[in-house]
Symmetry: C2
DNA sequence: CGTATTTATCTGTTGCAACATATATTTTTG
DNA sequence: CAAAAATATATGTTGCAACAGATAAATACG
C-alpha cells in the first residue's frame, strides 16, 4: 500500500510531524495542553525575564499583591499556579532583589511573613499592561464564549470528581 | 461593605485563593492552561524520572521512534513539543546514557544523524503502558466528545489565523 | 510535663535550562 | 571562484529547579 492513510493528519499531529493520528482522545488532549502551554508561556517568560524575574517569581509577587498583607512562605507555596518545592530560596532571591521583605513571626517563630516592597509593587504595576496585552494578542482572536468553554473544560480536566 | 461579592469565586480563582473573579476571559483561559499543564505534567515527569530521563529527553526518544530512521539534531529540535534551545547537549546526554547513537553525515558534514539504540527502544516500550495508564487516570473521566472539543479549542488557541 | 508528631523553613548537592557566542560546513551571489 | 550569507552544531557561563535531608518551633498525647 503506497496510498496515504485515509484519515487526514491534522491539528497537533501535523504540527509535530506525526505519521498517524492519535489512538485515544485523552492522549491527544494531554499533548495539546502541553504544547499550548509551551507556546503561550514562552513569550510571557521572556517578557518577565527582560524585567529580571522568572515566571514563578512573578507568581509569588502576584500572590502577595492579591493578599495586600504579609503572607507566609508556606501559604505562598500553597497558592502557586505551578508547584514549586523550593519556596524558601525563591523568596530569598526576591528579597535579594529588594522586591520583598521577610519578617520572622513573633507569635509562631517557625513562620516567616513575606511582604511586597515599594519596588516590588512598582515592578508589578509596570508589568500589568504589557502582560495583559500579550495575553490578548495570544488569545484575543477567540470569542469569550469559546474562552469560557475552554476554561470550563480545563477545570473539569483537573477535577475528576466534578 | 462587609457583604461578599455577589459573583461567586469558583473554578481556578477558588483554587489559587483569588479574592475576585477574572476581568477577562482570555486571562482566565491562559491561567487555566498553565495550571492544567502543571498538574498533568508533574506526575508524568516523576514517572519518567524514576526511569532516569526527563520530559524533553522522552520527547526526543519518541520523535526518533516515530521516524524509525535517523533524524538530525536540527530536525529533532523542530518537532519538539516544547521548544528546547539546547538540543546538542540534550542529545549528548542521551548518548552518554546509551539510549541513542550519533553519526556525522558524510554528504553534509554539518549534520549529525541521531538514532535509537536497542536499549533506547526498550526503554520506550517499557514506558508505553504506564504512561498511557497515567494519562487515562488523569483524563479518562471526560467523554471523548469533551476531550475532542478541548483539543479543538486548544488548537484554535494556538492558531489565530484559523 | 516530657516525648512524639506535626508544621514551617532551611541547606546541600546535582544536574539541567537558558542565553549568548563560537565554529564548521554548505550555499548563494556578484 | 572568492566573499558573504545561511545552515547545523558545539561550547562557555550563569542561575535556577528538583530532590533529599536537616533543623527548629509548636502541638498533641499519655
Amino acid at each position: 500500500m503506497t496510498k496515504t492513510d485515509s484519515k487526514a493528519i491534522q491539528g497537533l499531529a501535523a504540527e509535530i510531524g506525526m505519521k498517524r493520528p492519535f489512538r485515544f482522545a485523552f492522549e491527544e488532549a494531554f499533548l495539546n495542553v502541553v504544547r499550548t502551554y509551551s507556546m503561550l508561556a514562552t513569550r510571557g517568560e521572556r517578557l518577565l525575564k527582560a524585567h529580571g524575574i522568572s515566571g514563578p517569581q512573578y507568581n509569588v509577587l502576584r500572590i502577595l499583591r492579591g493578599h495586600g498583607s504579609p503572607v507566609s512562605i508556606y501559604q505562598i507555596a500553597e497558592e502557586m499556579l505551578t508547584e514549586s518545592p523550593d519556596m524558601p530560596r525563591l523568596v530569598e532571591r526576591l528579597g535579594a532583589a529588594q522586591l520583598v521583605t521577610k519578617t520572622r513571626c513573633v507569635k509562631d517563630r517557625r513562620v516567616v511573613w513575606v511582604e511586597l516592597t515599594k519596588s516590588g509593587s512598582a515592578l508589578l504595576k509596570k508589568l500589568d499592561k504589557p502582560l495583559l496585552e500579550l495575553h490578548e494578542s495570544q488569545l484575543g482572536h477567540m470569542s469569550d464564549q469559546d474562552l469560557n468553554q475552554l476554561s470550563a473544560l480545563l477545570v473539569r480536566a483537573r477535577h475528576p470528581e466534578i
